[in-house]
Protein backbone atom coordinates (compact mmCIF):
# COMPACT_ATOMS: atom_id res chain seq x y z
CA UNK A 1 0.00 0.00 0.00
CA UNK A 2 1.43 3.34 -0.99
CA UNK A 3 0.05 6.43 0.58
CA UNK A 4 0.41 9.71 -1.21
CA UNK A 5 3.00 11.84 0.53
CA UNK A 6 1.90 15.36 1.16
CA UNK A 7 3.95 18.24 2.46
CA UNK A 8 1.18 19.87 4.48
CA UNK A 9 0.23 18.25 7.79
CA UNK A 10 -2.94 16.17 7.77
CA UNK A 11 -6.03 17.75 9.27
CA UNK A 12 -7.70 16.03 12.20
CA UNK A 13 -11.35 15.67 13.08
CA UNK A 14 -12.30 16.26 16.74
CA UNK A 15 -12.39 12.45 17.10
CA UNK A 16 -8.98 11.61 15.63
CA UNK A 17 -7.46 10.60 18.99
CA UNK A 18 -10.55 8.56 19.87
CA UNK A 19 -10.05 6.53 16.67
CA UNK A 20 -6.37 5.95 17.36
CA UNK A 21 -7.16 4.86 20.92
CA UNK A 22 -9.79 2.45 19.56
CA UNK A 23 -7.09 0.79 17.44
CA UNK A 24 -8.19 2.15 14.08
CA UNK A 25 -5.82 1.96 11.14
CA UNK A 26 -5.38 5.59 10.06
CA UNK A 27 -4.80 6.75 6.46
CA UNK A 28 -4.58 10.10 4.70
CA UNK A 29 -7.78 10.92 2.81
CA UNK A 30 -8.43 14.23 1.08
CA UNK A 31 -5.89 15.94 3.33
CA UNK A 32 -7.31 14.37 6.52
CA UNK A 33 -5.97 11.76 8.92
CA UNK A 34 -8.91 9.34 8.85
CA UNK A 35 -9.73 5.83 10.14
CA UNK A 36 -9.84 3.37 7.21
CA UNK A 37 -10.82 0.42 9.40
CA UNK A 38 -11.22 -0.70 13.01
CA UNK A 39 -11.85 -4.47 12.99
CA UNK A 40 -11.78 -5.05 9.21
CA UNK A 41 -13.58 -3.70 6.18
CA UNK A 42 -15.79 -6.72 5.53
CA UNK A 43 -16.76 -7.07 9.20
CA UNK A 44 -17.65 -3.37 9.41
CA UNK A 45 -19.52 -3.48 6.10
CA UNK A 46 -21.65 -6.36 7.39
CA UNK A 47 -22.30 -4.57 10.68
CA UNK A 48 -23.87 -1.66 8.76
CA UNK A 49 -25.99 -3.92 6.53
CA UNK A 50 -27.06 -6.13 9.41
CA UNK A 51 -27.13 -3.97 12.55
CA UNK A 52 -25.80 -0.42 12.84
CA UNK A 53 -22.53 1.43 12.23
CA UNK A 54 -21.15 4.73 13.48
CA UNK A 55 -19.04 6.89 11.15
CA UNK A 56 -16.98 9.99 11.86
CA UNK A 57 -17.38 12.03 8.69
CA UNK A 58 -16.46 15.36 10.25
CA UNK A 59 -14.04 15.89 7.37
CA UNK A 60 -17.00 16.83 5.17
CA UNK A 61 -17.43 20.57 4.52
CA UNK A 62 -20.43 22.69 5.47
CA UNK A 63 -21.25 26.14 4.10
CA UNK A 64 -24.16 28.30 5.21
CA UNK A 65 -25.73 30.94 3.02
CA UNK A 66 -28.36 33.39 4.17
CA UNK A 67 -30.02 36.56 3.02
CA UNK A 68 -32.87 37.67 0.76
CA UNK A 69 -31.11 36.24 -2.30
CA UNK A 70 -29.82 33.03 -0.68
CA UNK A 71 -32.22 30.91 -2.74
CA UNK A 72 -31.23 32.77 -5.90
CA UNK A 73 -27.55 32.14 -5.20
CA UNK A 74 -28.13 28.43 -4.55
CA UNK A 75 -30.22 28.20 -7.72
CA UNK A 76 -27.47 29.86 -9.76
CA UNK A 77 -24.77 27.52 -8.42
CA UNK A 78 -26.56 24.17 -8.21
CA UNK A 79 -28.06 21.96 -10.92
CA UNK A 80 -31.11 20.85 -8.92
CA UNK A 81 -34.16 23.00 -8.15
CA UNK A 82 -33.81 24.21 -4.56
CA UNK A 83 -37.01 26.26 -4.83
CA UNK A 84 -38.97 23.03 -4.37
CA UNK A 85 -37.37 22.44 -0.96
CA UNK A 86 -39.50 22.90 2.11
CA UNK A 87 -37.85 24.03 5.31
CA UNK A 88 -36.51 20.79 6.80
CA UNK A 89 -35.88 19.12 3.47
CA UNK A 90 -32.61 17.99 1.86
CA UNK A 91 -31.70 17.73 -1.82
CA UNK A 92 -28.81 16.11 -3.69
CA UNK A 93 -27.28 18.25 -6.44
CA UNK A 94 -24.12 19.09 -8.37
CA UNK A 95 -22.08 22.25 -8.78
CA UNK A 96 -20.99 22.52 -12.41
CA UNK A 97 -18.51 24.51 -14.47
CA UNK A 98 -19.89 26.50 -17.42
CA UNK A 99 -18.61 23.70 -19.71
CA UNK A 100 -20.70 21.13 -17.80
CA UNK A 101 -17.90 19.42 -15.85
CA UNK A 102 -18.54 18.82 -12.16
CA UNK A 103 -17.03 21.06 -9.46
CA UNK A 104 -18.49 18.84 -6.73
CA UNK A 105 -21.58 16.90 -5.72
CA UNK A 106 -23.34 18.05 -2.58
CA UNK A 107 -26.47 18.05 -0.46
CA UNK A 108 -28.54 21.19 0.10
CA UNK A 109 -30.39 21.71 3.39
CA UNK A 110 -33.16 24.29 3.60
CA UNK A 111 -32.71 25.60 7.15
CA UNK A 112 -35.16 28.45 6.69
CA UNK A 113 -36.85 30.38 3.88
CA UNK A 114 -33.71 32.44 3.32
CA UNK A 115 -31.10 30.14 4.81
CA UNK A 116 -29.42 27.02 3.41
CA UNK A 117 -26.61 24.68 4.34
CA UNK A 118 -24.49 23.11 1.58
CA UNK A 119 -22.58 19.94 2.48
CA UNK A 120 -19.58 19.26 0.25
CA UNK A 121 -16.79 16.71 -0.09
CA UNK A 122 -13.82 17.02 2.25
CA UNK A 123 -11.23 17.04 -0.53
CA UNK A 124 -13.07 19.90 -2.26
CA UNK A 125 -13.79 22.29 0.62
CA UNK A 126 -11.27 24.97 -0.38
CA UNK A 127 -12.05 24.72 -4.10
CA UNK A 128 -15.82 24.80 -3.45
CA UNK A 129 -15.59 27.71 -1.05
CA UNK A 130 -13.69 29.76 -3.65
CA UNK A 131 -16.21 28.70 -6.29
CA UNK A 132 -19.44 29.48 -4.44
CA UNK A 133 -18.22 32.78 -3.02
CA UNK A 134 -16.89 34.01 -6.36
CA UNK A 135 -20.00 32.93 -8.32
CA UNK A 136 -22.67 33.88 -5.80
CA UNK A 137 -25.30 36.40 -6.86
CA UNK A 138 -27.38 39.07 -5.08
CA UNK A 139 -27.64 39.66 -1.34
CA UNK A 140 -26.40 36.36 -0.01
CA UNK A 141 -24.02 36.06 2.90
CA UNK A 142 -21.76 32.98 2.95
CA UNK A 143 -20.15 31.37 5.96
CA UNK A 144 -17.79 28.38 5.95
CA UNK A 145 -18.72 26.43 9.10
CA UNK A 146 -16.72 23.31 8.23
CA UNK A 147 -14.22 23.63 11.10
CA UNK A 148 -16.78 24.26 13.81
CA UNK A 149 -19.09 21.46 12.63
CA UNK A 150 -18.66 17.76 13.37
CA UNK A 151 -20.68 15.14 11.52
CA UNK A 152 -21.49 11.61 12.69
CA UNK A 153 -23.40 9.12 10.58
CA UNK A 154 -25.46 6.36 12.20
CA UNK A 155 -26.40 3.86 9.50
CA UNK A 156 -28.07 0.48 9.44
CA UNK A 157 -31.38 -1.26 10.17
CA UNK A 158 -31.05 -0.51 13.92
CA UNK A 159 -30.13 3.17 13.47
CA UNK A 160 -33.69 4.40 13.94
CA UNK A 161 -34.20 2.58 17.23
CA UNK A 162 -30.81 3.68 18.56
CA UNK A 163 -31.07 7.35 17.65
CA UNK A 164 -34.70 7.30 18.78
CA UNK A 165 -33.68 6.12 22.26
CA UNK A 166 -31.14 8.95 22.64
CA UNK A 167 -33.08 11.78 21.03
CA UNK A 168 -35.31 14.22 22.88
CA UNK A 169 -37.77 14.18 20.00
CA UNK A 170 -39.47 11.73 17.69
CA UNK A 171 -37.18 10.64 14.86
CA UNK A 172 -39.42 8.00 13.25
CA UNK A 173 -41.39 10.81 11.63
CA UNK A 174 -38.32 12.29 9.93
CA UNK A 175 -38.73 11.20 6.30
CA UNK A 176 -35.90 10.27 3.94
CA UNK A 177 -33.98 13.37 2.81
CA UNK A 178 -35.57 15.44 5.56
CA UNK A 179 -34.13 16.73 8.81
CA UNK A 180 -35.18 18.13 12.16
CA UNK A 181 -33.36 19.79 15.01
CA UNK A 182 -33.21 18.17 18.40
CA UNK A 183 -30.80 16.92 21.02
CA UNK A 184 -29.19 13.48 20.79
CA UNK A 185 -27.65 12.30 24.09
CA UNK A 186 -28.08 15.91 25.22
CA UNK A 187 -26.08 17.27 22.26
CA UNK A 188 -27.95 19.77 20.05
CA UNK A 189 -27.99 18.34 16.52
CA UNK A 190 -29.38 18.63 13.05
CA UNK A 191 -30.85 15.13 12.69
CA UNK A 192 -30.86 14.32 8.99
CA UNK A 193 -32.31 11.17 7.47
CA UNK A 194 -29.59 10.83 4.85
CA UNK A 195 -26.54 8.69 4.26
CA UNK A 196 -24.05 7.14 1.87
CA UNK A 197 -24.58 3.45 2.57
CA UNK A 198 -27.94 2.38 1.11
CA UNK A 199 -29.22 1.62 4.62
CA UNK A 200 -31.70 3.59 6.69
CA UNK A 201 -30.03 5.95 9.11
CA UNK A 202 -29.14 9.45 10.13
CA UNK A 203 -26.41 12.02 9.75
CA UNK A 204 -26.00 14.17 12.86
CA UNK A 205 -24.52 17.66 12.50
CA UNK A 206 -23.22 18.96 15.81
CA UNK A 207 -20.81 21.53 17.24
CA UNK A 208 -17.25 20.19 16.98
CA UNK A 209 -16.50 20.40 20.75
CA UNK A 210 -19.46 18.05 21.43
CA UNK A 211 -18.31 15.34 19.02
CA UNK A 212 -16.59 13.13 21.56
CA UNK A 213 -19.54 13.26 23.94
CA UNK A 214 -22.00 12.17 21.25
CA UNK A 215 -19.63 9.54 19.82
CA UNK A 216 -19.15 7.94 23.24
CA UNK A 217 -22.86 8.02 24.02
CA UNK A 218 -23.68 6.28 20.71
CA UNK A 219 -20.95 3.65 21.20
CA UNK A 220 -22.26 2.94 24.71
CA UNK A 221 -25.98 2.97 23.91
CA UNK A 222 -25.46 1.05 20.66
CA UNK A 223 -23.71 -1.90 22.25
CA UNK A 224 -26.88 -4.02 22.57
CA UNK A 225 -27.70 -3.21 18.94
CA UNK A 226 -24.35 -4.54 17.75
CA UNK A 227 -23.09 -1.07 16.86
CA UNK A 228 -19.54 -0.85 15.53
CA UNK A 229 -17.41 2.13 14.52
CA UNK A 230 -16.93 2.09 10.75
CA UNK A 231 -13.94 3.34 8.76
CA UNK A 232 -13.65 4.83 5.30
CA UNK A 233 -12.86 1.40 3.81
CA UNK A 234 -16.35 0.07 4.50
CA UNK A 235 -17.88 3.46 3.69
CA UNK A 236 -16.40 2.97 0.22
CA UNK A 237 -17.64 -0.62 -0.29
CA UNK A 238 -21.09 0.32 1.05
CA UNK A 239 -21.47 3.25 -1.34
CA UNK A 240 -20.05 1.25 -4.26
CA UNK A 241 -22.71 -1.46 -3.83
CA UNK A 242 -25.27 1.36 -4.22
CA UNK A 243 -23.44 2.84 -7.24
CA UNK A 244 -23.23 6.15 -5.41
CA UNK A 245 -20.62 8.29 -7.14
CA UNK A 246 -17.47 9.35 -5.30
CA UNK A 247 -16.00 12.69 -6.36
CA UNK A 248 -12.45 12.29 -7.65
CA UNK A 249 -13.14 8.68 -8.65
CA UNK A 250 -16.38 8.51 -10.63
CA UNK A 251 -17.09 12.17 -11.21
CA UNK A 252 -14.83 15.20 -11.62
CA UNK A 253 -14.18 18.23 -13.81
CA UNK A 254 -13.92 16.01 -16.92
CA UNK A 255 -17.28 14.26 -16.45
CA UNK A 256 -20.75 15.75 -16.77
CA UNK A 257 -23.83 14.93 -14.68
CA UNK A 258 -25.69 13.29 -17.56
CA UNK A 259 -23.06 10.68 -18.42
CA UNK A 260 -22.56 10.08 -14.68
CA UNK A 261 -26.24 9.09 -14.39
CA UNK A 262 -27.07 12.22 -12.39
CA UNK A 263 -29.50 13.66 -14.92
CA UNK A 264 -32.19 13.39 -12.24
CA UNK A 265 -30.55 16.24 -10.29
CA UNK A 266 -30.30 18.55 -13.34
CA UNK A 267 -33.38 20.76 -13.68
CA UNK A 268 -33.04 23.07 -16.70
CA UNK A 269 -36.69 24.10 -16.40
CA UNK A 270 -35.96 25.98 -13.16
CA UNK A 271 -34.09 28.73 -15.02
CA UNK A 272 -30.47 29.52 -15.61
CA UNK A 273 -27.62 27.99 -13.62
CA UNK A 274 -23.92 27.58 -14.21
CA UNK A 275 -23.40 24.80 -16.75
CA UNK A 276 -27.00 24.68 -17.95
CA UNK A 277 -26.35 25.54 -21.62
CA UNK A 278 -23.50 23.06 -21.94
CA UNK A 279 -25.49 20.27 -20.27
CA UNK A 280 -28.54 20.98 -22.43
CA UNK A 281 -26.38 20.87 -25.56
CA UNK A 282 -25.09 17.48 -24.45
CA UNK A 283 -28.59 16.23 -23.85
CA UNK A 284 -29.60 17.23 -27.39
CA UNK A 285 -26.48 15.78 -28.96
CA UNK A 286 -26.77 12.49 -27.06
CA UNK A 287 -24.23 10.98 -24.71
CA UNK A 288 -21.02 9.50 -26.06
CA UNK A 289 -20.42 7.49 -22.89
CA UNK A 290 -22.16 6.47 -19.69
CA UNK A 291 -21.17 5.45 -16.20
CA UNK A 292 -22.19 1.82 -15.77
CA UNK A 293 -22.02 -0.75 -13.01
CA UNK A 294 -20.43 -4.07 -13.91
CA UNK A 295 -19.67 -7.32 -12.15
CA UNK A 296 -16.69 -9.59 -12.72
CA UNK A 297 -17.07 -13.22 -13.76
CA UNK A 298 -14.36 -14.15 -11.23
CA UNK A 299 -12.98 -12.65 -8.05
CA UNK A 300 -10.11 -10.61 -9.55
CA UNK A 301 -10.72 -7.07 -8.34
CA UNK A 302 -11.20 -4.18 -10.79
CA UNK A 303 -9.63 -0.97 -9.47
CA UNK A 304 -9.66 2.75 -10.26
CA UNK A 305 -7.71 3.40 -13.47
CA UNK A 306 -7.79 -0.14 -14.92
CA UNK A 307 -8.77 -0.34 -18.60
CA UNK A 308 -12.24 -1.46 -19.66
CA UNK A 309 -12.32 -3.48 -22.90
CA UNK A 310 -15.06 -4.53 -25.31
CA UNK A 311 -14.54 -6.67 -28.38
CA UNK A 312 -10.79 -6.66 -27.77
CA UNK A 313 -10.48 -2.86 -27.82
CA UNK A 314 -9.98 -0.45 -24.93
CA UNK A 315 -13.27 1.44 -24.54
CA UNK A 316 -13.07 3.09 -21.13
CA UNK A 317 -11.68 3.08 -17.66
CA UNK A 318 -12.70 1.73 -14.27
CA UNK A 319 -13.56 4.61 -11.93
CA UNK A 320 -14.31 2.55 -8.78
CA UNK A 321 -14.00 -1.11 -8.02
CA UNK A 322 -13.82 -3.51 -5.13
CA UNK A 323 -14.96 -6.81 -3.81
CA UNK A 324 -18.54 -6.14 -2.67
CA UNK A 325 -18.98 -7.84 0.71
CA UNK A 326 -22.80 -8.02 0.49
CA UNK A 327 -23.01 -9.07 -3.16
CA UNK A 328 -20.03 -11.40 -2.57
CA UNK A 329 -18.40 -10.71 -5.89
CA UNK A 330 -16.06 -8.19 -7.45
CA UNK A 331 -17.91 -5.17 -8.83
CA UNK A 332 -17.03 -1.84 -10.35
CA UNK A 333 -18.14 1.31 -12.10
CA UNK A 334 -16.70 2.91 -15.19
CA UNK A 335 -17.41 4.92 -18.29
CA UNK A 336 -18.10 2.99 -21.49
CA UNK A 337 -19.43 4.07 -24.91
CA UNK A 338 -23.24 4.34 -24.86
CA UNK A 339 -23.45 1.41 -27.32
CA UNK A 340 -21.84 -0.82 -24.69
CA UNK A 341 -23.73 0.54 -21.69
CA UNK A 342 -26.89 -1.60 -21.71
CA UNK A 343 -27.44 -4.17 -18.96
CA UNK A 344 -26.02 -7.48 -20.14
CA UNK A 345 -23.27 -6.01 -22.36
CA UNK A 346 -20.09 -8.06 -22.19
CA UNK A 347 -16.99 -6.15 -21.10
CA UNK A 348 -13.56 -7.10 -19.88
CA UNK A 349 -11.22 -5.48 -17.40
CA UNK A 350 -7.48 -5.48 -17.98
CA UNK A 351 -5.91 -6.61 -14.72
CA UNK A 352 -2.12 -7.01 -14.59
CA UNK A 353 -1.93 -7.46 -18.34
CA UNK A 354 -4.64 -10.13 -18.59
CA UNK A 355 -8.27 -9.58 -19.55
CA UNK A 356 -10.94 -10.68 -17.11
CA UNK A 357 -14.58 -11.02 -18.18
CA UNK A 358 -17.17 -8.58 -16.83
CA UNK A 359 -20.78 -7.78 -17.60
CA UNK A 360 -22.88 -4.62 -17.27
CA UNK A 361 -25.49 -5.24 -14.57
CA UNK A 362 -28.50 -3.50 -13.09
CA UNK A 363 -27.67 -1.16 -10.23
CA UNK A 364 -27.68 -0.72 -7.33
CA UNK A 365 -25.71 -3.93 -7.01
CA UNK A 366 -27.32 -4.53 -3.61
CA UNK A 367 -30.95 -3.55 -2.88
CA UNK A 368 -31.34 -0.18 -1.19
CA UNK A 369 -32.91 -0.16 2.27
CA UNK A 370 -33.17 3.57 2.73
CA UNK A 371 -36.33 4.89 4.37
CA UNK A 372 -38.14 5.66 1.10
CA UNK A 373 -37.81 2.06 -0.07
Amino acid sequence: MTDAVSTSPLKRTPLRDVHVKAGAKMVPFGGWDMPVQYTGIIDEHRAVRGAVGLFDISHMGEFEVRGPDALGAVQRLCTNDASTLEIGQVQYAALCYPEGGIVDDLTIYRLDTDRFMLVVNASNVDKDWAWVTSHSVGRAEWKNVSDETALLAVQGPRAEALVGRLADRDVIGIAYYHFATGAVAGVPAVISRTGYTGEDGFELYIAAPQAERLWSALIEAGRPDGLQPIGLGARDTLRLEMKYALYGNDIDQTTNPLEAGLGWVVKPAKGDFIGRDAIEALRVRGLARRLVGFEMAERAVPRHGYRLMAGGAAVGVVTSGSFGPSVERSIGMGYVPSAQSAVGCELAVEIRGATHAARVVKTPFHPSHTKKA
Partner: protein, 130 residues
Amino acid sequence: MANVPAELKYTREHEWAKVEGDRARIGITAFAQEQLGDVVFVELPKVGAKVTAMKTFGVVESVKAVSDLFAPVSGEVAEVNDALPKNPELVNTDPYGKGWMLVIRMSNPKDVDGLMSAADYQKLTADGAH
Protein backbone atom coordinates in the same frame (compact mmCIF):
# COMPACT_ATOMS: atom_id res chain seq x y z
CA MET B 1 2.72 -8.78 17.89
CA ALA B 2 1.89 -11.14 15.06
CA ASN B 3 2.55 -14.85 15.42
CA VAL B 4 5.91 -16.06 13.95
CA PRO B 5 6.25 -19.87 14.24
CA ALA B 6 9.83 -20.87 15.10
CA GLU B 7 9.96 -23.88 12.75
CA LEU B 8 9.34 -21.85 9.56
CA LYS B 9 11.65 -19.84 7.30
CA TYR B 10 10.77 -16.35 6.06
CA THR B 11 11.34 -13.83 3.27
CA ARG B 12 11.67 -10.05 3.66
CA GLU B 13 8.52 -9.84 1.55
CA HIS B 14 6.54 -11.63 4.28
CA GLU B 15 6.19 -15.13 2.84
CA TRP B 16 6.87 -18.22 4.96
CA ALA B 17 8.28 -21.59 3.85
CA LYS B 18 7.99 -24.94 5.61
CA VAL B 19 10.49 -27.51 4.40
CA GLU B 20 8.96 -30.98 3.89
CA GLY B 21 11.82 -33.12 2.53
CA ASP B 22 12.63 -31.85 -0.98
CA ARG B 23 9.46 -29.80 -1.01
CA ALA B 24 8.52 -26.50 0.56
CA ARG B 25 5.03 -25.44 1.55
CA ILE B 26 4.61 -21.65 1.31
CA GLY B 27 2.18 -18.91 2.28
CA ILE B 28 2.14 -15.39 3.69
CA THR B 29 2.76 -14.50 7.31
CA ALA B 30 0.32 -13.39 9.99
CA PHE B 31 1.97 -9.96 9.88
CA ALA B 32 1.38 -9.74 6.11
CA GLN B 33 -2.30 -10.65 6.32
CA GLU B 34 -2.82 -8.14 9.13
CA GLN B 35 -1.28 -5.39 7.03
CA LEU B 36 -3.33 -6.36 3.98
CA GLY B 37 -6.68 -6.66 5.70
CA ASP B 38 -9.50 -8.84 4.35
CA VAL B 39 -8.13 -11.03 1.54
CA VAL B 40 -10.69 -11.40 -1.27
CA PHE B 41 -8.67 -12.92 -4.12
CA VAL B 42 -5.49 -14.96 -4.53
CA GLU B 43 -3.98 -15.48 -7.97
CA LEU B 44 -1.71 -18.56 -8.04
CA PRO B 45 0.21 -20.51 -10.71
CA LYS B 46 -0.96 -23.96 -11.80
CA VAL B 47 0.57 -27.31 -10.82
CA GLY B 48 3.66 -27.87 -12.97
CA ALA B 49 4.52 -24.18 -13.33
CA LYS B 50 8.10 -23.10 -12.54
CA VAL B 51 8.75 -20.51 -9.87
CA THR B 52 12.00 -18.70 -9.12
CA ALA B 53 13.28 -17.70 -5.71
CA MET B 54 12.58 -14.03 -4.95
CA LYS B 55 10.58 -13.58 -8.14
CA THR B 56 6.81 -13.00 -8.08
CA PHE B 57 4.62 -16.07 -8.45
CA GLY B 58 1.20 -14.58 -7.87
CA VAL B 59 -0.87 -11.85 -6.33
CA VAL B 60 -2.96 -11.44 -3.23
CA GLU B 61 -5.73 -8.85 -3.19
CA SER B 62 -7.47 -7.43 -0.17
CA VAL B 63 -10.46 -5.09 -0.32
CA LYS B 64 -8.09 -2.11 -0.38
CA ALA B 65 -4.80 -3.31 -1.81
CA VAL B 66 -2.99 -5.53 -4.31
CA SER B 67 0.25 -7.20 -3.25
CA ASP B 68 2.74 -9.33 -5.18
CA LEU B 69 3.72 -12.76 -3.84
CA PHE B 70 7.40 -13.72 -3.92
CA ALA B 71 8.65 -17.30 -4.09
CA PRO B 72 10.94 -18.18 -1.16
CA VAL B 73 12.55 -20.97 -3.22
CA SER B 74 12.93 -22.05 -6.86
CA GLY B 75 11.27 -25.14 -8.27
CA GLU B 76 8.13 -26.60 -9.74
CA VAL B 77 4.66 -26.19 -8.31
CA ALA B 78 3.62 -29.60 -6.92
CA GLU B 79 0.38 -28.58 -5.20
CA VAL B 80 -1.91 -25.55 -5.15
CA ASN B 81 -4.34 -24.83 -2.35
CA ASP B 82 -7.68 -25.45 -4.06
CA ALA B 83 -9.61 -23.97 -1.14
CA LEU B 84 -8.38 -20.42 -1.73
CA PRO B 85 -10.40 -19.50 -4.84
CA LYS B 86 -13.63 -20.07 -2.88
CA ASN B 87 -12.36 -19.13 0.58
CA PRO B 88 -9.57 -16.54 0.23
CA GLU B 89 -10.30 -15.44 3.83
CA LEU B 90 -8.40 -18.55 4.99
CA VAL B 91 -5.27 -16.44 4.38
CA ASN B 92 -6.51 -14.15 7.17
CA THR B 93 -7.92 -16.69 9.55
CA ASP B 94 -5.18 -19.35 9.31
CA PRO B 95 -2.16 -17.96 7.42
CA TYR B 96 0.23 -20.77 8.49
CA GLY B 97 -2.33 -23.58 8.20
CA LYS B 98 -5.38 -23.73 5.92
CA GLY B 99 -4.25 -20.50 4.24
CA TRP B 100 -1.14 -22.09 2.66
CA MET B 101 -0.71 -21.30 -1.03
CA LEU B 102 1.68 -23.65 -2.83
CA VAL B 103 3.87 -26.69 -2.34
CA ILE B 104 7.03 -26.30 -4.40
CA ARG B 105 9.28 -29.21 -5.41
CA MET B 106 12.61 -27.47 -4.86
CA SER B 107 15.15 -27.43 -7.68
CA ASN B 108 17.79 -26.11 -5.32
CA PRO B 109 17.18 -27.03 -1.67
CA LYS B 110 20.06 -24.71 -0.72
CA ASP B 111 17.65 -21.78 -1.41
CA VAL B 112 16.35 -22.42 2.10
CA ASP B 113 19.67 -21.33 3.59
CA GLY B 114 19.11 -17.86 2.19
CA LEU B 115 15.82 -17.40 4.06
CA MET B 116 15.38 -15.63 7.37
CA SER B 117 15.00 -17.39 10.69
CA ALA B 118 11.90 -16.78 12.80
CA ALA B 119 13.96 -14.60 15.18
CA ASP B 120 15.26 -12.42 12.33
CA TYR B 121 11.82 -12.14 10.77
CA GLN B 122 10.33 -11.19 14.13
CA LYS B 123 12.91 -8.40 14.35
CA LEU B 124 12.10 -7.22 10.82
CA THR B 125 8.40 -6.93 11.53
CA ALA B 126 8.97 -5.28 14.88
CA ASP B 127 11.02 -2.58 13.11
CA GLY B 128 8.70 -2.34 10.13
CA ALA B 129 5.44 -2.23 12.06
CA HIS B 130 3.81 1.12 12.52
